[in-house]
């Protein structure tokens, strides 16, 4: 009598005993191949042996053999399931992670804080209908100064210490690094035959000045210009009020005080109430105890500049403002020294 001829019951008992010995996935696979394998699994052979049985016993033998097969298949499935459960359990217990270990660093870049601030400012003004334009950083003196009502030998030129480009045209020095974005008032109006103009012009400016914690010789400005019939100084205040609230909190207040820029009349500076101490702190580092923070210069576009653009200054009025982006960035993050921005130390830049 061959092994395959062993009785189904004996075979089942032997198979189940072997199954209980199998404790991992490879052992289970070996067991499955040995017992239930399609080619020569012992239960497969048993089923094949049905044909060898005397005809009158075939049905019973077949039934018994099938029952063994089903039993073993069920036992295998159960065994597989319990092993899977055990493995999962092990994952949660013996293989549990120390989740306080650090995550693997991923490459993540950031925008420069000046870019971030610039974009936030631009967005605030775009929401109020301002278009965006840009102009050259190397500029003609005619745009930077003369068109802005600061001809040569005008004391207003002291307000901007100019870096001049070393190029002579017809024996004259005419090219400079723009000291402010204001020349773009003239540039934008020049290419706009008819109002309305409602534009901001962001960009870098340059000043010949010594650097310290609050002064940097390369700076980023946003020029704002709105020109149309019916543009009023109160609109200027409204726009800047919106801006201050968008950038520094809904409860901001703004005030104007008198200032002078040759290209506006009246000219003002805008301050907002201190968003750190809310006007209460004599020791406040942000507003130096004054309760107010100077933000920008602004005013109503001088009628002469409106006329130079070819508009009728008796009907058309406008406002302009110039905003220092680094200053806004310093304020919003409480940065103590403007020189950090262009030192490009990743220990600084990586924080924003």
């Amino acid at each position: 009598m061959t092994a395959s001829a062993a009785s189904p019951d004996a075979l089942r008992e032997e198979a189940l005993a072997a199954l209980s010995e199998a404790t991992d996935e490879p052992a289970l696979e070996r067991w499955r191949a040995g017992w239930l394998g399609r080619q020569d699994g012992r239960v497969t052979l048993l089923l094949r042996a049905v044909r060898e049985q005397p005809p009158e016993q075939r049905a019973a033998f077949g039934q018994a053999a099938n029952a063994v097969k089903q039993t073993l298949e069920a036992a295998l499935a159960e065994r597989q399931e319990s092993l899977k459960q055990a493995a999962l359990k092990a994952l949660s217990t013996t293989a549990a992670l120390d989740v306080t270990l650090p995550g693997r660093p991923q490459a993540i870049g950031r925008l420069h804080p000046v870019t971030q601030t610039l974009r936030d400012c631009i967005k605030a003004f775009q929401e109020m209908g301002f278009r965006v334009a840009e102009g050259p950083e190397v500029e003609w003196s005619a745009y930077n100064f003369d068109a802005m009502r600061s001809p040569e030998d005008h004391p207003a030129r002291d307000m901007w210490d100019t870096i001049w480009v070393d190029t002579l045209l017809n024996g004259e020095r005419k090219m400079l690094l723009r000291t402010h974005t204001s020349p773009n008032q003239a540039r934008v109006m020049e290419r706009t035959p008819e109002p309305p103009v409602r534009v901001i012009v962001p960009g870098k400016c340059y000043r010949q000045e010594a650097t310290d914690a609050t002064h940097e010789w390369m700076l980023t400005q946003i020029e704002g210009l709105a020109v149309d019939e019916g543009v009023r100084m109160s609109d200027l205040k409204g726009v800047l009020y919106e801006f201050a609230r968008k950038m520094f909190g809904q409860d901001r207040k703004v005030i104007f005080h008198h200032s002078y820029f040759p290209f506006v009349e009246p000219g003002v500076e805008m301050a907002m109430d201190c968003f750190i101490c809310r006007g209460s702190g004599a020791e406040c580092r942000t507003c130096h105890g004054t309760g107010w923070i100077e933000i920008l210069g602004a005013g109503m576009v001088h009628p002469e500049i409106i006329e130079n653009a070819g508009y009728d200054s008796s009907k058309v009025t406008g406002f302009a403002f110039g905003l220092g982006v680094e200053r806004v960035a310093l304020l919003r993050w409480g940065i103590e020294d403007i020189r950090h921005f262009y030192a490009n130390d990743l220990r600084f830049l990586g924080q924003f």
């Binding site: 870019t115 870096i163 190029t167 409602r198 104007f256 005080h257």
Partner: protein, 804 residues
């Protein structure tokens, strides 16, 4: 400009608390930078005015004396070491407990009395230093005779000194009187002008001197007067005190009066020694180029033909509006004064002082534009003081050459313009009140206009909007409402390059690169390390005349130098990977025009990959990381890019690829040449991606090429193919992509390159994933096998590729 509160109060009654006054001035007039309270620490109980009644020698010390002082509440005896103490003087007297500055150590301490050389002292007679007024500790402070005995010193001598920055268009505010006019309007109190009265007891001025204005275009007005029999000496204490507070050194009564009147009125004056003025005549004229004069500061100045000089009968005696000459300077022996009060064209004075690098108190005022009538007021004010303080006799009448005389300006201000500009109306009473308080003649022309004449000290006021500013600022900007902009919006201007720039910025950040912003100005040597010698434009960067530092002299023609510098600086602080980029402008010179500001993206990467704890390896970033970043950016933009081996200055040959899209070059990916990197102090492989935004924008598709995802599965079959090492892998990929078999789309991705054991010499093995996709059906194995056979044949024929 400094401003003493006591001086201001001479002209206007102002009793606002100091911080409030400062705030009002800031809101409406000028920037108050700060203020200093003189006498803030003087205890009113313990430091008072006293009078010295008697002075006797100290019984036990030669250099000490015993003084008896009347304190207002009885006589006291004190020991005093000051050499200048004398009976009859009014002095500052401190009693025990007063907080003083120690005359020797300079530190603050409470006064403790103890016997000095055996004699009790009831208090202390104070020096300026002990009161913190000055560093003078030579003798005691002697108060004016009218000081009130027993009065707290802080009431007698206390004051507030403001530090004020005025705006460039307001020369009148560089005088106490000008600021007083503003305060008078701000607080609605009348202004008291200082006295200009004097008697003209001398001979007619014309008989003593003459004036010629040769260049009336530069000298609108020139006035002189003569003061005879002047007694030169120190000016009175109150005048010296005020001059010192305003930063001017007292010299003698004559010079001090001219300086005092300048601070008071804003109008500079000049006093000549009459006897040194040759020919007793003054001529205002342009300099002869090359003409010279030694100015009062002892420096010889040379002039060009646009500068104006004041000359006497023989030559220059003063640089008009800037500084006087040494040859006619007032001295001990001066007995007669020729006093000049003139007006000069602002731009010319500014030019002269800039060219001579000589900025004086006078030039700072003239260059801002003084009204010509200010000369007359200041001259008369000075003559009043000369008569009072020098004992001199003023000549009769003044010589007044006034070629620039203009009729008074009248400005029409339509009432509606106020609301048009400001957005709110200000009533006629308030408009008239403000303008009148500021010295304007203002007539309401009912119903809706004002006729306004600006006062002589306000040459800055020219148009209606100038008046609106004056009304608005004095009225108060706190009353300005905040309104919403009305009206239509302008047409948008397309900005394709700028839009692309912002997309690239965001993509670079997403790929792990940190944005940096470097200075646009750099050094030529640094540019020369990264710019090819043959690149004529980039090798000729524009320079600036007056850089903030030598290392910021040249406008960059490449972003690479700044990035490499930044990379090196950060490598000192960081292990691990560095990835950084800048989006900025190259400034490429253009003949006779502004430079082309070319927008470029440039990125660097290098170092070991992110530390992977619990995983082995110190795998470094390499060329293919940089190329991968470039591909990712181009991919996200929908720009199909090609990479071809290239050789460029500053980049490592064999590790450099020119990036293009179609025929358009758009950038470069490379390992920076190790020598170039080393020149920037980088001693590791560093890789660069540069994309030229203005070129890239030309090949930027308006929208990505869209392909609907197939409903049928894609078949992938991996191949290992041997090709010549010299054959670029991209050729294999291109052939596969171009292979056609009905509607089946075939793509190939190389996922490995292998050379070495098992691969014949001169060959490389490429592992390629070939993908087959039909739009309309699921491909069968047989179909794929058939296509593959054809593909392999073609690869063998065109590339000599064989399966490994």
């Amino acid at each position: 400009m400094k401003l003493l509160l006591s001086w201001l109060r001479e002209f206007v009654d102002v009793d606002l608390p100091v911080p409030e006054l400062a705030r009002r001035l800031i809101d409406a007039t000028a920037e108050v930078e700060g203020w200093e309270t003189i006498g803030a620490g003087w205890d009113p109980e313990r430091i008072r005015v006293a009078q010295v009644v008697a002075v006797e020698p100290h019984p036990n010390a030669d250099r000490l004396r015993l003084a008896t002082v009347e304190t207002g509440s009885g006589l006291q005896q004190v020991v005093c070491g000051a050499p200048n103490i004398a009976a009859g003087q009014k002095v500052a007297f401190a009693t025990e407990g007063a907080v003083l500055i120690d005359g020797h150590t300079g530190e603050t301490a409470k006064l403790k009395l103890r016997p000095i050389r055996g004699v009790e002292s009831a208090g202390m007679v104070l020096s300026e230093k002990e009161l913190g007024l000055s560093d003078s500790h030579e003798g005691i402070l002697v108060l004016p005779d009218d000081a009130v005995v027993g009065r707290p010193l802080v009431e007698q001598l206390g004051d507030v000194l403001f530090d004020i920055s005025t705006w460039a268009n307001r020369a009148d505010l560089l005088g106490v009187l000008g600021l007083a006019r503003e305060v008078s309007a701000l607080v609605s109190r009348p202004l008291r002008e200082p006295s200009t009265e004097y008697s003209e007891a001398g001979p007619p001025t014309e008989s003593l001197a003459s004036v010629t204005v040769q260049d009336p275009d530069l000298c609108p007005r020139f006035m002189v007067s003569v003061i005879q029999d002047v007694t030169l000496g120190p000016s009175p204490a109150w005048m010296q005190e005020r001059l010192l507070r305003h930063g001017m050194r007292p010299i003698n009564n004559v010079v001090d009066i001219t300086n005092y009147v300048m601070i008071e009125t804003g109008q500079p004056l000049h006093a000549f020694d009459y006897d040194l003025v040759r020919g007793k005549q003054l001529i205002a004229r342009r300099a002869v180029p090359g003409e010279k004069l030694v100015t009062l500061d002892g420096v010889e100045r040379e002039f060009d033909g646009q500068m104006v000089l004041v000359c006497d009968g023989e030559g220059p005696v003063s640089v008009a509006g800037v500084m006087g000459g040494g040859n006619s300077e007032v001295s001990e022996s001066t007995r007669t004064i020729l006093l000049e009060a003139a007006n000069w064209v602002p731009g010319n004075i500014r030019r002269t002082s800039m060219y001579l690098k000589l900025r004086s108190e006078a030039s700072l005022r003239f260059e801002k534009g003084l009204g010509p009538e200010m000369a007359e007021f200041a001259l008369k004010r000075a003559l009043h003081l000369f008569e009072q303080l020098t004992g001199g006799t003023v000549s009769r009448g003044v010589i007044d050459v006034y070629p620039g005389k203009r009729p008074p300006r009248t400005i029409i201000l339509p009432a509606a313009r106020i609301e048009q500009v400001l957005g709110y109306a200000i009533g006629p009473d308030e408009v008239r009140r403000i303008l009148s308080d500021l010295g304007f003649l203002c007539h309401h022309l009912p119903p809706d206009r004002y006729s306004v004449q600006p006062p002589y000290w306000r040459p800055d006021v020219l148009i209606a909007d100038d008046l609106i500013e004056d009304v608005a600022r004095i009225h108060g900007y706190d009353k300005l409402p905040a309104t919403k902009l009305r009206g239509s919006l302008p047409e948008p201007e397309p900005r394709p390059v700028e839009d692309l720039r912002e997309r690239v910025r965001d993509l670079a950040v997403g790929l792990g690169f940190q944005e940096i912003i470097t200075y646009s100005l750099t050094e030529k040597q640094k540019l020369e390390r990264v710019v090819a010698p043959g690149d004529v434009r980039r090798m000729a960067p524009l320079s600036v005349v007056n850089p903030v530092a030598a290392r910021h002299t040249y406008l960059r023609t490449s972003l690479r130098a700044g990035l490499l510098e930044t990379y090196a600086a950060n490598r000192r602080q960081h292990d691990g990977p560095l990835r950084m980029f800048e989006v900025g402008q190259e400034f490429l010179p253009v003949e006779a025009d502004l430079p082309h500001e070319r927008k470029v993206f440039c990125a660097l990467a290098g170092g070991t990959r992110e530390a992977r704890w619990a995983k082995a390896g110190d795998d470094r970033l390499d060329f293919f990381d940089a190329k991968g970043a470039a591909e990712a950016v181009l991919g996200a933009l929908g720009v199909p890019g090609t990479f071809a081996a290239a050789n460029e200055f500053g980049l490592l040959e064999g590790h450099t690829a020119r990036v293009a899209s179609g025929k358009q070059p758009v950038g470069v990916v490379a390992q920076v040449h190790p020598d170039t990197a080393a020149a920037f102090d980088i001693d590791e492989p560093v890789f660069m991606v540069e994309l030229w935004l203005e070129d890239l924008v030309r090949v930027l598709p308006e929208r990505p090429a869209y392909l609907a995802p197939s409903r049928f599965p894609e078949m992938r079959h991996d191949l290992a193919l041997l090709i010549d090492t010299a054959t670029p892998a991209v050729r294999l990929v291109d052939i596969v992509r171009s292979h056609r078999s009905g509607t089946v789309r075939i793509t190939a991705d190389i996922f490995d390159e292998y050379r070495g054991r098992g691969v014949p010499e001169g060959k490389k093995s490429l592992a390629v994933a070939v993908r087959y996709q039909a739009e309309d059906r699921t491909l069968t194995d047989e179909e794929v096998a058939r296509i593959e056979t054809g593909l392999l044949k073609r690869l063998e024929k065109e590339l000599g590729a064989v399966r490994r």
